[in-house]
């Protein structure tokens, strides 16, 4: 029963964490893209071109490896728990 409780609550907490990290990482990526554009904008750049540049970068991020690495949030805690169980018992 305790084990079920740990799994359920652990999953909920990790999901919240996953969501937060996803939002954070996306926000960081967008800021970096914007900074990249602003640092060296091409001749005759319009705000529309900037938006397109950022959007393209974001689509690339959404399908990239970095985004999938956030799933490690669900992988690492069970490994840690397993290691603790192995060493304590």
């Amino acid at each position: 029963m305790q084990f079920v409780r740990l799994v359920v609550f652990g999953f909920l907490i990790l999901s919240v964490l996953y969501l937060c990290i996803t939002l954070y990482s996306r926000s960081i990526r967008r800021e970096k893209l914007e900074d990249e554009w602003d640092a060296n904008p091409p001749e005759g750049a319009t705000p529309d071109m900037r938006a397109i540049f950022v959007k393209e970068g974001m689509t690339k991020y959404e399908s990239g490896l970095r985004k999938k690495l956030i799933l490690l949030v669900y992988v690492i805690p069970p490994i840690v728990v397993g290691t603790i169980i192995y060493f304590i018992n």
Binding site: Q2, R5, L6, I21, I28, E31, I84, I85
Partner: protein, 224 residues
């Protein structure tokens, strides 16, 4: 206001510090003198300083409690200063799947190991007992032993590697959360607040202009 905030901050710091001191692993150099089992009836106050019944069994209002009686080297100031010998009694309970996250299920085995280490005659066998918790005599609270292993002599000084790693992870986690919060504020809350502030400026400028018109009109009635 500033004082109130300061007091709140100190209180929070103290509570977190005490809680960490309670749940973090400590290691004592000790000599097991005996093991025993007593029946325990918990009070509402000291119940929270005990774990639950052994994992896999049912919780009852009263149960047996495994104890390990030892003589240990007294330490002060996080184990940096060594004192003489003193008596210490550890409880030996499963922490199970719940708090604190030691995931200890083998209290029976630990009891057997400690019984094997009982050492009352010379040469004495010293052991390192990893535990968490406090010994509070007036409330019958014991630290919970987590593991036990033999050492060569009583002069052995354990070094808290595990605690260092845990502290490093905690600090890293705290910094990460703070970075997340800052990013959220910079990119989401501040632009929103700016927009609201802009709107407020527009409205108040509009208002003052209107007020100006009214007072100018009133001024026309005043004597020049």
């Amino acid at each position: 206001m500033r004082n109130a905030r300061r007091i709140l901050r100190i209180a929070l710091f103290l509570i977190i510090g005490l809680w960490l001191h309670y749940v973090m692993p400590h290691r004592d150099v000790a000599r097991v003198t005996s093991t025993e089992i007593i029946r325990t009836d918990f009070s509402n106050f000291n119940r929270m300083f005990y774990a639950q019944a052994d994992s896999g069994t049912v919780e009852n209002p009263t149960r047996d409690l495994r104890l390990i009686n030892t003589e240990r080297k007294a330490t002060y100031f996080f184990g940096l200063i060594r004192g003489g010998n003193e008596t210490m009694v550890y409880r030996n309970e499963d922490t199970g799947w719940i708090y604190p996250p030691y995931f200890k299920f083998d209290s029976s085995d630990l009891q057997a190991e400690s019984a094997a280490f009982i050492s009352t005659s010379e040469p004495q066998q010293w052991v390192v007992i990893t535990h968490y918790g406090w010994r509070v005599r007036w409330a019958s609270i014991y630290p919970n032993a987590v593991s036990i292993r033999p050492v060569e002599s009583e002069d052995f000084r354990p070094f808290p590697w595990v605690n260092l790693v845990i502290f490093a992870l905690l600090i890293a986690g705290f910094l990460f959360l703070r970075a997340m919060w800052r990013q959220f504020r910079e990119r989401t809350v501040d632009p929103l607040a700016d927009r609201v502030g802009d709107q407020y400026d527009h409205v108040s400028a509009d208002l003052s202009e209107r007020k100006g018109r009214v007072s100018r009109w009133l001024g026309t009635w005043r004597k020049k």
